[in-house]
């Protein structure tokens, strides 16, 4: 065991305990034996033998020591075992070694050899993976690409960021696709600025947004913590910025490369003082694309900061999805002005819906002032008590407007409600839907409501949805049940059960299935903590 250096000490300890309890030696053979006892079928392959056979066959003795080819051999054997055709592998080998044709040939030869070896030796292997027919218009994307593409399509032309896992992949993606075509126009381009820190990133986003540009930043927990003060500035000055928040496990550095949903309450409350914001969460990669466009619309329609919640699980997931359709997104710029005729423009002029026509830097007659202090209609500092109430109420009223005008299906997705109903948010969506499907096959009905709008909270809509529900089950990837707290705050019906996971590992459908089943059988504790994954 000591010869496997990258193993975490605590993990090693657990492994030793496990192997000892199973009476197995502390060796790889011991682990394999233990696995076998659990019902795992083992198919031993000696790659050394394959290599030396290859060397003999090609009369190239060097191959005997070519352990660098093990990856290719292992993938080939797996493909052969599972009955999948080898052409994709051969093609990628060709691509990777496109500049070294000899090496490409050698690897392809080895791949074929290993493939044939596996198909001959394991012809009776009963589990086969079948190729599904290719659907037209399918793309393979990672989560961070979905929000990146959403930004390009919805006209975000400025993004600043400070490197952080897992958020910065999106910014790098934007930079590698810096230019693109725009209908009947000059080539379009996104300006991507790597800043000195996240404070600068959000400051630049605000500055750029003041020019009428759609601008955004993308970050994770530690970076978002640094942005809190400027978020309030954007709030009091009604600047429509978008912050894409790719959550990971906190607190502090936490589990920096792992998954978590523990920034919900922080996103809702970040920054001092009362100011309106919208917090909106996507449940999967496809939603990531379309929701990004919505977030810019919310920001500009209601003139406030929008925090778009994503997470590490979505960011790093690779999925094949239906090709995104930019025609399905709208671009709503709210009360952004193109032209101003009056000589007495007031940036924060009162209006019945709380929204003032918005000027931008560089617009004739459109001069305005902004300040982090409370201000009058022009944007000049004012500590007048009457003005203070007017302005605070004006800004706050935009949240009521957002709730009133946002389509219900954008507030929450209703996957069917029943006596037992799961309420959740974000990337738990996939495993929950799978688990519900598994239960359905056993004749057990569980409903599911995925909340997307988390601030302002869609209380009325949820109340109407959950009217007939007897048992509310909160599922989320954090320790304290942050959505649960929101539900308890806003609904009369308190959460009955919590299913929580905070190991940094993503949820699986089977562990959700198990926990839900316990609840249905009335055998569950109020709070179940999921632990699957090493």
């Amino acid at each position: 065991m000591d010869e496997v250096p990258p193993l975490d000490d605590l993990f090693k300890e657990r492994l030793v305990k496990y192997l000892t309890s199973k009476n197995k030696p502390l060796t790889i053979q011991g682990m394999l034996d233990a696995a076998k006892e659990r019902g795992v079928q083992l198919y031993p392959v000696s790659f050394k033998t394959i290599l030396s056979n290859l060397a003999d066959e090609t009369q190239n003795p060097k191959l005997r020591g070519m352990f660098r080819m093990l990856n290719v051999l292992a993938v080939s054997v797996s493909l052969g075992l599972l009955g999948l055709p080898p052409d994709t592998l051969l093609k990628s080998v060709e691509n990777i070694f496109s500049r070294k044709p000899q090496i490409a040939e050698m690897n392809k030869h080895a791949a074929n050899y290993a493939y044939n070896f596996a198909t001959a030796k394991y012809a009776k292997y009963k589990y086969q993976l079948l190729l599904t027919p290719k659907e037209p218009d399918t793309i393979m994307v990672q989560g961070f690409q979905s929000t990146g593409l959403g930004k390009i399509a919805s006209g975000c032309r400025f993004q600043s960021y400070y490197p952080i896992t897992p958020a910065s992949d999106e910014s790098v993606f934007l930079e590698s696709n810096e230019t693109f075509e725009v209908e009947n126009n000059r080539p379009g381009s996104t300006m991507v600025v790597q800043t000195e820190d996240e404070i600068s990133a959000i400051g630049m986003v605000i500055g750029a947004t003041l020019t009428g540009t759609r601008a955004a930043t993308s970050t994770s927990g530690p970076g978002f913590s640094l942005m809190a003060e400027a978020l309030g500035w954007a709030g009091i000055n009604e600047v429509p910025i978008v912050v894409t928040l790719y959550q990971r496990s906190g607190p502090s550095t936490g589990l920096p490369t792992r998954h978590g949903q523990d920034d919900l309450q922080f996103a809702i409350h970040a920054g001092h003082g009362d100011f309106p914001r919208i917090v909106y969460a996507s449940g999967d990669i496809e939603e990531g694309f379309y929701d990004t466009a919505k977030c810019f619309n919310y920001a500009e329609n209601f003139q406030l900061p929008v925090i778009h919640m994503m997470d590490k699980f979505i960011a790093s997931t690779v999925a094949t999805v239906k090709r995104f359709d930019p025609k399905k997104i709208t671009i709503e710029r709210g009360k952004l002005l193109e032209k101003i005729d009056t000589q007495d423009y007031k940036r924060f002029a009162p209006s019945p819906d709380g929204l003032s026509p918005r000027s931008r830097l560089g617009l004739e007659n459109g001069i305005f002032w902004n300040t982090g202090d409370e201000s009058d209609e022009y944007g000049h500092i004012s500590e007048d008590p009457g003005n203070r109430i007017t302005m605070m109420d004006k800004r706050a009223s935009k949240l009521d407007l957002a709730l009133k005008t946002m389509p219900k299906e954008d507030q929450a997705a209703n996957f069917g409600v029943s006596e037992f109903c799961v309420v959740s948010w974000g990337s738990t969506k996939g495993p929950i839907l799978d688990a519900i499907e598994m239960l359905k096959k056993e004749g057990l009905a569980v409903g599911f409501v995925q909340i997307k709008l988390l601030q302002p909270f869609p209380t009325d809509y949820l109340k109407s949805l959950l009217k007939g529900t007897k048992t509310i089950i909160d599922i989320e990837a954090n320790q304290s049940g942050q959505l649960g707290s929101l539900l308890n705050e806003h609904l009369d019906h308190k959460v009955d059960y919590y299913i929580l996971k905070y190991t940094g590992r993503s949820m699986t459908c089977t562990e959700i299935y198990d926990s839900l089943k316990k609840i249905l059988q009335n055998k569950a504790e109020k709070k179940q903590v999921l632990t699957y994954g090493v």
Binding site: Q145, I152, G155, N184, S200, M204, W369, I381
Partner: protein
């Protein structure tokens, strides 16, 4: 266009203390904008938090009063997105060299075409006179319970080291020279830094107007004060960096790089703020090239 100085002044009530050096700096900014005849909607003053931060409210152009220490970040974002704007950032010494020092250095490296003015009074004026990063070691201004235990940062040296491409120092009570310096700074293509020595008669009772004038330092022969400030111009100092022997190889390299490629983003010709993004509420951005590359 005829520009009047009064056009650049707002009627906002000013609550700076009588005799504060900030008045001189605001005047110089207004005079510079008027003299350059910059259309009011083409100029923006960004300011930090402090007494100096109020500056943006007194100038009748776009005025963005930002956060403590963060003025450069907001200003750069705006300038990058809309390079047509004349952008002037202004703030205190605490704002720019204390809490905002990281942005100061980073901005120098970035060299975005704008002007940054620090109101250097040696104290945190707005918070009642604590030591600022430019207060000299051992000095004890009015509010300090003990003499200052920190070395002073030299804003000029820091600016040069950080990569600012225009570095100058002015004096709040020499408004005319200050105006000229601001004009030169605005006209400079790149990030210009102006360190302005500014009196805070309320909290800095050491670096006062008399102190600058050398009233405490009388020449025994002439019986005249020996001023602590002088004009660099008078010493025939040449601030321009001359390249005496242009490196031939580098010149060739530059020419070879000039190619026409419309796909290289040119943010001056096609800045973010002027790009059209929608038509009748629909996206006009074509992402099909990227989607094609992801097609399976």
């Amino acid at each position: 266009m005829e520009s009047n100085l009064s056009d650049y002044k707002t009627e906002v009530h000013n609550d700076w203390c009588p005799g504060c050096g900030d008045f001189g700096i605001v005047n110089a900014i207004q005079m510079a904008l008027a003299e350059m005849e910059i259309p009011r909607h083409k100029a923006a003053i960004f300011s930090g938090i402090g007494c100096s931060g109020k500056t943006s409210h007194f100038v009748n152009v776009y005025g963005i009063h930002t956060l403590h220490g963060r003025v450069l970040t907001f200003a750069q974002g705006a300038k990058l997105a809309n390079p047509e704007m004349t952008v002037v950032a202004a703030g205190g010494d605490g704002d720019g060299l204390g809490i905002g020092a990281g942005h100061f250095v980073a901005a120098g490296r970035r060299n975005v075409d704008m002007t940054y003015i620090i109101f250097n009074n040696g104290v945190y004026g707005l918070t009642k006179g604590q030591a600022s990063p430019t207060l000299k070691l051992g000095l004890q201004t009015k509010s300090l319970p003990e003499p200052n235990v920190n070395q002073a940062v030299n804003p000029i040296a820091l600016a040069v080291a950080s990569g600012f491409t225009f570095v100058a120092r002015g004096y709040a009570y020499d408004v005319r020279q200050l105006k000229d310096l601001i004009i030169a700074a605005v006209k400079h293509r790149g990030l210009a830094f102006l360190d302005v020595l500014q009196q805070c008669p309320t909290y800095n009772d050491i670096n006062t107007r008399d102190w600058f004038a050398g009233m405490d330092n009388i020449d025994e022969m002439t019986k005249k004060p020996r001023p602590r400030i002088y004009k660099l111009e008078d010493t025939h100092f040449d601030p321009v960096v001359h390249i005496d022997s242009p490196d031939e190889e580098n010149e060739k390299l530059t020419q070879a790089l000039i190619k026409s490629n419309e796909w290289v983003p040119n943010y001056l010709e096609n800045p973010p703020a002027t790009q059209q993004i929608s038509y009748k509420g629909k996206s006009i951005t074509d992402i099909s090239r990227i989607l094609d590359s992801l097609q399976v």
